[in-house]
């Protein structure tokens, strides 16, 4: 059970990190004030 819990929590962390990339990219697109 613990193995599955740690596997799941690791996956969740990395999914959050990918979502975080998406968030930063959205901010980048919305906030670009030059080119």
């Amino acid at each position: 059970m613990s193995d599955l819990a740690f596997l799941a929590s690791s996956l969740v962390f990395f999914v959050v990190a990918v979502w975080y990339i998406h968030g930063c990219r959205s901010l980048m697109k919305g906030g670009r004030d030059d080119a």
């Binding site: 193995d3 975080y20 930063c24």
Partner: protein, 592 residues
């Protein structure tokens, strides 16, 4: 402090200085895919690896793709290490001591620790990890996590150097070339040099030595009552140490094969091996300053960054050496002056063969970088001596720093410095011709704020709870606070050194430190890559009267000031309640 001590410190830095240019130029050629003398041997290996893994070496990646590839690689290798730890008892290879499977909490924390280049060890390696786990699960991570850090630093440098580009390179190519061309060849030679000094490399079962004099030991039994036993023999751990030691230091990983780390005579037997180990921590980070200058087209800028790092390093080593060379005011009637027959000062927790200068230097270097190896116990340093490694980590480990991680961390500070300089003169801030604008500064602040948020947040919760927080402490009062702060700073900064004294092998500390390590690595990398991606897309403006030069002494001084001020503003209140208060109370005769 002695002349001999300062001479050894000067020799160390001279070596770092001498190696920086050739190594930096070499790394620039490696990452720019120019011809090197190792190509005839390594290019076929590289091509084979790409063919086997299906990597298109000519494909370029946007910063989001670069970041996603790095995350996928890190997740896959983390899970692989977790599996090796959990299954080591069932694998009939290189487990002569028949060590059991690693417990799940510890296995997860350790897998995260080595994936993030932290190498925090909440366990005794020689009693917990089989040779297979040490080599395949942990030493491989020492290569991978170091190569990932270097790849990310190079991606940032490309962001500065490229103009109107949407891409930062190819993560898989950078990872492969950093491993094959930089880390592996140096480690091959370095490991043999360590063996020549007496570092062991074998697969033998542990030896047993009969003690010349039997020892009587009293310790709490299972029921809590004291039990006295007589010890007549001692187990001497063995293993493939040299091969792991080399990358442990060169890759600024720091996780020891033995629990005593680089104070163990099998890991670090002689003053020469000690010098080599300290030098190898700074070798690549120092070289990367030159790589920055070459790839960004401003060699003097690389040297300016090197100079800022050098000044901060010297401030740390001076303070640590001075603090440790002082007599302990609580030891009355004891001769603590340095002489031909004694080192003087505070020798508690230090190896006699290294003495005070080399212990203070090692502690400074290992925490300037994100290495975390130790040759002395930082918990036994005088309060201000122990504050130096803690402060180094809290400054973000940008003083040469971890391989790659130190460079990209310092470059984030460069962005902030250029921004502040722009505000001072009332012009649009420019960094090597690139305008630094709102998004860049937002991402830089995100990078800088995540770090203290994790450290101070977890430390605050820990000190509030006796049941799961302060119960792990061996000392209380300001020293106990320093132990907790150090643990979370070390984890979040991906340093991995322990202040010692804190039992981190509890569910609370294993889980929170695991989260701190992962967040301190990956949640800081993302905004850094975003800055790089944004910079790469910009035009390069020609220098004008309003351009702030980043290749002179003024810039180096300003950069140094920004690093210190950001760190001081963030962490000074915590430090004042920890080591500074402990120092003042020690002077009043109070110890913890």
């Amino acid at each position: 402090m002695t002349f001999n001590g300062w001479l050894q410190i000067a020799v160390f830095f001279a070596l770092v200085l001498l190696a920086a240019k050739p190594l930096g130029l070499y790394m620039a050629r490696v990452y720019e895919r120019k011809r090197t003398w190792l190509d005839p041997v390594l290019v076929p290996v590289e091509r084979l690896l790409y063919r086997l893994t299906g990597v298109d070496a000519d494909a370029e990646m946007r910063w989001t793709e670069y970041g996603a590839a790095m995350l996928v690689f890190s997740l896959a290798t983390m899970l692989l290490t977790y599996a090796v730890e959990r299954l080591q008892h069932a694998i009939p290879l290189w487990n002569p001591q028949h060590l059991a499977a690693v417990e799940p909490y510890l296995a997860w924390s350790t897998a995260g620790s080595f994936t993030t280049n932290t190498n925090w060890q909440a366990y005794v390696p020689e009693q917990t990890m089989s040779y297979l786990t040490q080599m395949f699960g942990l030493a491989t991570h020492n290569f991978w996590s170091a190569a990932v850090g270097m790849a990310l630093a190079i991606a940032f440098i490309r962001g500065i150097a490229r103009r109107e580009s949407k891409t930062l390179g190819n993560f898989w190519v950078d990872l492969t070339r950093g491993t094959l061309w930089v880390l592996a060849p140096i480690c091959l030679v370095y490991a043999l040099a360590l063996v020549s000094q007496g570092v062991i490399q074998n697969f033998k079962p542990y030896d047993t030595a009969t003690l010349v004099e039997k020892q009587t030991v009293t310790a709490p039994g299972t029921d809590g009552k004291p039990v006295t036993t007589t010890v007549a023999s001692q187990t001497i751990a063995q293993g493939p140490v040299a091969s792991q030691e080399a990358i442990k230091m060169l890759g600024t990983n720091g996780g020891g094969f033995m629990n005593a780390n680089s104070s163990h005579p099998f890991e670090n037997p002689t003053p020469l091996s000690n010098l080599l180990e300290m030098f190898s921590i700074f070798a690549i980070p120092g070289g990367l300053c030159i790589t920055l200058g070459v790839m960004a087209g401003s060699p003097r800028h690389g040297w300016a960054v090197f100079a800022a790092m050098g000044v901060l390093w010297f401030a740390g080593v001076f303070t640590a050496y001075w603090a440790e060379a002082q007599p302990n005011p609580l030891l009355h009637g004891v001769d603590q002056q340095a002489a031909m027959t004694q080192p003087g000062g505070n020798m508690e927790g230090k190896e006699v063969r290294f003495g005070i200068a080399n212990s203070a230097l090692f502690a400074t270097v290992t925490t300037d970088a994100s290495c975390g190896a130790v040759n002395a116990m930082h918990d036994s340093f005088m309060p201000l001596g122990g504050m130096v490694p803690l402060t180094n980590i809290m400054l973000g480990e940008v003083i040469f720093g971890g391989v790659g991680a130190g460079m990209y961390g310092m470059l984030v500070f460069v962005i902030v410095t250029v921004f502040i300089a722009g505000l001072m003169v009332g012009r649009t801030p420019e960094y090597l011709g690139k305008k630094v604008q709102a998004f860049d500064v937002q991402m830089a602040m995100l990078y800088l704020l995540i770090f203290p948020l994790i450290i101070l947040g977890f430390a605050a919760v820990s000190v509030l709870s006796q049941s799961f927080g302060t119960s792990s402490l061996s000392n209380h009062g300001p020293h106990g606070l320093a132990q907790i702060l150090y643990a979370f700073a070390s984890a979040t900064g991906n340093n991995g050194s322990a202040f010692a004294g804190l039992n981190a092998n509890t569910h609370w500390y294993l889980v929170t430190q695991g989260v701190a390590m992962l967040a301190g690595r990956f949640l800081m990398i993302v905004p850094m890559l975003a800055i790089a991606g944004n910079l790469a897309m910009k035009k390069i403006a020609p220098p004008s009267l309003g351009t702030f030069p980043v290749d002179n002494t003024l810039f180096a001084v300003l950069l140094t000031g920004v690093v210190v001020i950001v760190g001081a503003l963030t962490f000074f209140p915590a430090l004042s309640l920890g080591p500074i208060l402990e120092h003042l109370l020690l002077r009043s005769g109070v110890a913890f």
